[in-house]
């Protein structure tokens, strides 16, 4: 018996990277596009913004959207569009950097703690428990008050609060993965601790950590707005979406655009990051591959098999009698 798998089904090299991702994950690609737009808007805010975000047009307080103020003005007569563009800087910067730093930190702590176990694990996890035992907002207030209000200190405060969440997930996954037969098999082939961590533990806990990351990102942006609202986040008048939201709430009946604009963008940003997180998770798992195109043999490469046909085809190539 020779293999019955059509050549197209398995094992050809194919484009990897962005192109493959766009083809396999249209939703994720859309999310990526949106995020790119947000980032560009933030970076190019000085170019794109029609007005200075801090400039007050005293005669146009709470002005409706018009040709001069495309998205209206706020209670101090500041241009909402300009503030939104500049606000993207603060919100995205704080959201992305906090999520990224606590993801890396929390995962590292969780993996090491979970894999080494015993004393190290007990000590590390009790410290994490202690951090999590304090209500998040109290801890945030405490750190923010000590460090003083600034965007950087907001990131530090939020990182301290969020890191234990990543630690939990990473540790739990590590405890599961270290029991997996493939880790035992790797040990039986003489793989040492660093190799097992890098090759087997980390890649296999990537999916849940990434998913948590996309959820946490939303929480961070919202937490940042809460901190700004309490006057200990990025200090006013620095524009941030959260700050705009909390200020705009007071005028919701007279000037609804004040909260519609930042909340729609906030929702879109959060939604995009969630979609991107999901798409990345699916994309990086060879078991969850979609039909289009061809396959590559790289670790993070794509392997695609016609859906539905895939299992039957692959298994159809049953074991051949020994060819000697």
């Amino acid at each position: 018996m020779t293999t019955t798998v059509p050549t197209s089904a398995v094992g050809r090299t194919a484009p990897t990277g962005l192109r493959a991702f766009v083809r396999a994950q249209p939703l994720g690609a859309t999310a990526l596009l949106l995020i790119t737009v947000f980032v560009l808007a933030a970076v190019l805010a000085p170019v794109l913004a029609p007005h200075d975000p801090l400039e007050q047009f005293r005669r146009d307080i709470l002005a409706e959207p018009s040709a001069q103020f495309l998205l209206g003005t706020d209670d101090l007569g500041r241009d909402v569009l300009s503030r939104t563009l500049y606000g993207a800087r603060t919100s995205l910067l704080i959201g992305v950097s906090t999520t990224a730093v606590s993801l890396v930190l929390g995962t590292a702590i969780g993996v090491v703690s979970g894999y080494l176990g015993r004393g190290v694990d007990v000590v590390v996890q009790r410290v994490m428990d202690a951090v999590q035992a304090v209500p998040g907002i109290v801890l945030l207030l405490f750190i923010a008050v000590i460090l003083g209000p600034s965007a950087r200190n907001t990131v530090i405060a939020l990182t301290v609060v969020i890191t234990p969440s990543f630690n939990r997930i990473a540790r739990a996954e590590t405890l599961r993965i270290r029991q997996e037969p493939y880790v035992e098999a790797a040990r039986a082939t003489g793989a040492g601790l660093p190799r097992i961590m890098a090759r087997h533990v980390l890649p296999n806990l990537f999916a849940p950590v990434l998913t948590l990351g996309s959820l946490i990102f939303a929480g961070v942006i919202i937490a940042e707005s809460a901190l700004s609202f309490l006057g200990i986040g990025a200090p006013p008048p620095t524009p941030s979406w959260g700050l705009m939201l909390s200020e705009g709430v007071r005028y919701v009946t007279r000037a609804p655009w004040l909260i519609i604009v930042p909340s729609v963008l906030l929702s879109l940003a959060v939604f995009s990051f969630n979609l991107l997180g999901d798409a990345l998770r699916d994309h990086l798992d060879p078991r969850l591959q979609r039909p289009v195109g061809e396959a590559s043999g790289r670790v993070w490469g794509r392997k695609r098999i016609p859906t539905g046909l895939a299992p039957s085809l692959a298994k159809a190539a049953e074991d051949e009698p020994d060819s000697r």
Partner: protein, 336 residues
């Protein structure tokens, strides 16, 4: 055995901590494997077969070797430096496991995983390792290895996955390959192919096999010598022809009688050993098999030693003791 043994396990005792105190999963187990030889270890689930094998590699996890010795090419492995053991594993002693699907990392191509062993032990450059992986996959009979080398584990059938595991095991040409029920998760036809493959590998490379199984059919097909384990102890060992042909121990006899044959009557219950293997925390006193033994008698209240009942052959039963008639279990000669 004419040549000095490759692996010598002597009076091995493996202890696991439990909330109720330490228990011995394996005690007083001794055996040896000579170069190029196939030794099968049989027994029911929970008899300590796998634990003994893992102890050889120092992969016990929570358990530890509480006594005895494991010597590989004369080198003591019990208490050896972890790094020394790590360098032996995969390079000189390789192991393949029961469930090939979960023993392969789902995120990496099979080629990657075969190459990993080479890169770990031989510092083989990436390209060379890839090429060698293709060769190894061809050797274990994976069809179209140039293409399959880039397949992920889930794209292969169980038999193909086990072939990949064997390729990983063979990557560094180990002197000893430990197979922990490598065919239990596979279809019978695939099982036959895998056994064929192992036989061929052994012939071509002179690899010694330590083969753990609960299938007497596999033992008779593959092994030179067999070790029968029950409840953490060796109850009988000897050449396959002798042990299967004329079992000395009532337990071995009962195992062989449990194999259904076309002649097994259909209208009566299948022959089986009543009860199950006692848990290590609740070991019966005396002979560990006596609660289930059809030939239990007064002396079974104390544990019997291994009695030599022939050249290279021993059985743990009072029936062989002086004053007891017959050196094999009376009335049950003849092949099962």
């Amino acid at each position: 055995m004419p040549s000095p043994p490759l692996l010598e396990v002597d009076d091995l005792q493996v202890r696991f901590p439990t909330p109720a105190g330490p228990i011995d999963a394996v005690s007083g187990v001794s055996f040896s494997v000579s170069p190029g030889e196939t030794v099968a270890v049989v027994g029911e689930s929970g008899s300590g077969k796998s634990v003994s094998a893992l102890a050889v590699l120092g992969l016990l996890g929570a358990g530890r070797v509480a006594g005895g010795s494991v010597r590989f090419r004369g080198e003591e492995l019990v208490g050896a430096a972890p790094d020394r053991l790590r360098r032996l594993r995969g390079a000189d002693i390789a192991m393949i496991f029961q469930n090939p699907m979960s023993s392969l990392d789902p995120l990496f191509t099979v080629g990657d995983q075969v190459a990993e062993a080479l890169r770990e032990h031989r510092r083989t450059p990436r390209r060379t390792a890839k090429a060698r992986a293709v060769e190894l996959l061809r050797e274990v009979g994976l069809p179209d290895p140039e293409r399959r080398v880039r397949s992920y584990p889930h794209e292969l059938s169980g038999g193909q996955q086990q072939r990949v595991m064997i390729a990983i095991g063979l990557a560094c040409e180990p002197a000893l390959l430990i197979c922990d029920e490598p065919t239990t998760a596979l279809d019978v036809t695939v099982e036959a192919q895998i056994l064929d493959l192992l036989r061929r590998v052994q012939r071509d490379h002179g690899t010694a096999l330590l083969f753990i199984t609960h299938d007497m059919g596999v033992v008779s097909e593959l092994a030179d010598r067999v070790l029968v384990m029950y409840a953490g102890r060796v109850v009988e060992h000897g050449s396959v022809a002798e042990v299967l042909g004329a079992p000395g121990n009532p337990y071995t006899r009962a195992l062989i009688d449990s194999i259904p044959t076309p002649a097994t009557p259909r209208d009566v219950p299948m022959p089986a050993i009543a009860g199950s293997v006692p848990h290590a925390s609740d070991m019966p006193s005396g002979c560990r098999f006596h609660p289930r033994c059809p030939r239990v008698h007064d002396r079974c209240a104390t544990e019997p030693p291994l009695h030599d009942i022939g050249p290279g052959r021993a059985s743990r039963c009072w029936l062989h003791a002086a004053g007891t008639a017959g050196s094999t279990v009376a009335g049950v000669r003849g092949v099962g």
